[in-house]
């Protein structure tokens, strides 16, 4: 099987999982762009793929790092330096109301609640909680120990629960 065929096969098998992870991680707008980028990076670095490991968790680990990378580059983009002042236009949220408007209020709140958590919490909630990966697969995708996955997942759920109990997203949602 050539690299191209392998990437094509992985695309058919796992693109929905990767896309879905990216939606929760970076928002709808960025997810489609980054989806292609994940596969480009995978293709280019296919030598680094360990065949005994799972292509899905490998792709998810690339997606996760791209999401982090994307965020940092956007935050500190060189255009800000080049024009020497902050943009007069406010940067708009990556959360598009059109994208989650069909979800019910509770789901929309959970989506926004996840987005407000710190990166580690978001990662583990999406992979372990929403995508229902096993502890082992989550550990592989995040390159953590299994214990760290269990502990972080527990703390992340707690943080999410507190956010939801405070109802901090209700107002945002009803406005949308």
């Amino acid at each position: 099987m050539t690299d191209k065929e392998r990437i094509s096969e992985w695309f058919h098998q796992y693109s929905d999982d990767v896309y879905h992870f990216l939606i929760y991680r970076v928002g709808f707008h960025e997810a489609e762009d980054l989806l292609q980028e994940v596969y480009i990076r995978a293709w280019k670095n296919i030598d680094l793929f360990e065949w005994q490991s799972n292509p899905k968790t490998w792709l998810l680990s690339i997606a996760r790092h791209l999401a982090v990378d994307e965020y940092r580059i956007k935050k500190k983009s060189i255009w800000k330096k080049m024009i020497s002042f902050e943009s007069k236009h406010e940067t708009k949220s990556v959360v598009s109301p059109e994208s989650i408007f069909e979800w019910n209020e509770e789901k929309a709140n959970i989506y926004l609640g996840i987005q407000s958590l710190k990166e580690n919490y978001r990662d583990v909630l999406i992979l372990r909680g929403i995508q229902e990966l096993s502890v082992r697969d989550t550990a592989e995708a995040l390159q953590w120990s299994e214990n760290k996955v269990r502990l972080t997942y527990f703390r992340a759920k707690d943080a999410l629960r507190k956010n939801l109990e405070r109802g901090m997203y209700r107002e945002t949602s009803s406005q949308g």
Partner: protein
């Protein structure tokens, strides 16, 4: 057996929506991927053909095409914090090259923006050719790295390069040559490119620009002293050695064009919600293959936004602000609405034709509806029925809609 306790949050998370990519978008991304000539980073990369850029817009497309051309762009390396890099560079430098290197590269750290800037310039000539290679990298402090297996991949910032080759002889001699073969060699690591003379920038000048990830290292290592370029044209072959050049010749040159395109795109995306914009895309001027940017919007763009774009571009390529009829938002709603009505619910059944697809055609600024058999009368029938201006009725059997037809056949 170990019992797993599931609580209310587990249940809620499990029941969260799992949206998938829509079929035609998925097809499009897949096709785009399959059309890329991507090589493993350890192999020789393929060459960037400027003409291919015409059909692609946006960051991913540009990045993908040129990304893998010149160098392995993701360097497997030990992860080190940005502020350690400078110290390491100084320590690792060979004494003999040190003086040379200080002239050859510039590393600037901007505390306010948390960015490193790395620049390199190499110049040289042979009997028939003059060459110049310029490298510009931007690195973000607190670089990002990730482990794959037992290796660490560094994925920080972006870099860009420009290679200019100028033929020193008579232009008539080189204009009859159809293809150039260019091989670069950095410390024995050689990359071969084949360059069609269609990409001639002027009578005698070849210009290649590309962009990649990894702002610090991209193609050039700190201790690279020279780059060898071998040019084959017709029956002739010559090697040009490009040496590190002096600082004052390239100070403030800024990002190479491919990189600048990306920076401008980032500015646009950070400033305007993409739904408020009709599209932004890069095209190539047909006469000289230089890029130009088109920013299309249905609303008048703010002058301060236009001014900033022009300031960023700094006359390095042309910019066209285009007024179009419909916003992305409107086309999006028309697309979704008509897909539901015409494809899912099959609301309109004509005796004369069948409807095969409804899709937003961004650059046409319309929602395209593919029908077959297509005649002007059939198209008019649908225009009359739908009575909206933001659509375009198309012949679904045309070759370029092959994928959309295939999607239709799969789904039906």
């Amino acid at each position: 057996m170990k019992r797993v306790h599931r609580d209310d949050v587990d249940e809620k998370l499990k029941n969260m929506p799992k949206p998938s990519v829509n079929v035609s978008k998925k097809k499009k991304i897949h096709n785009s991927l399959m059309n890329m000539d991507i090589q493993r980073s350890v192999k020789k990369p393929s060459f960037f053909r400027g003409n291919d850029l015409k059909s692609l817009g946006g960051f991913v497309a540009i990045g993908a095409l040129v990304l893998f051309v010149f160098v392995a762009t993701l360097i497997v390396d030990n992860y080190r914090k940005g502020d350690e890099i400078l110290g390491d560079i100084e320590n690792e430098m060979d004494n003999e090259i040190e003086v040379h290197q200080e002239e050859a590269k510039r590393t600037v750290y901007d505390e306010v923006f948390g960015l490193y800037i790395y620049e390199y310039l190499f110049k040289g000539e042979s009997n028939h050719w003059e060459g110049e290679f310029y490298y510009f990298g931007e690195g973000v402090s607190g670089d990002v790295s990730y482990k794959v297996g037992n290796q660490t991949i560094e994925a920080q910032g972006l870099h860009s390069y420009e290679l200019k080759l100028t033929y020193k002889g008579e232009s008539v001699d080189i204009q009859n040559v159809e293809e150039l073969e260019i091989t670069t060699s950095v410390k024995g690591d050689s990359k071969k490119w084949e360059q069609s003379t269609n990409n001639l920038q002027s009578d005698k000048e070849y210009w290649i620009s590309g962009i990649g990830f990894d702002g610090r290292r991209g193609s050039i290592k700190e201790n690279d002293e020279y780059i060898e370029i071998t040019v084959k044209w017709g029956n002739q072959e010559e090697t040009i050695t490009l040496y590190s050049s002096h600082l004052d010749e390239w100070e403030d040159r800024g990002p190479a064009v491919a990189h600048l395109q990306e920076i401008v795109s980032m500015y646009i995306d950070d400033s305007i919600d993409f739904m408020d914009l009709a599209y932004r895309t890069y095209h190539l001027h047909s006469e000289n293959n230089t890029p130009y940017l088109v920013i299309a919007s249905s609303e008048e763009l703010e002058q301060s936004f236009k001014d900033t774009v022009l300031k960023l571009v700094d006359n390095k390529f042309d910019v066209e602000f285009r007024k179009v009829e419909f916003s992305r938002q409107q086309l999006f709603h028309t697309d979704v609405g008509l897909n539901k009505r015409l494809i899912e619910e099959k609301e309109y059944q004509s005796e004369n034709f069948e409807i095969y697809f409804v899709r937003e055609f961004t650059f046409e600024n319309r929602v395209g509806i593919g029908i077959a058999p297509y005649t002007d009368q059939h198209a008019q029938e649908l225009y009359d029925y739908l009575d909206t201006d933001d659509i375009l009725v198309l012949d679904a059997t045309e070759e370029q809609y092959e994928d959309l037809l295939r999607d239709y056949n799969i789904n039906n």
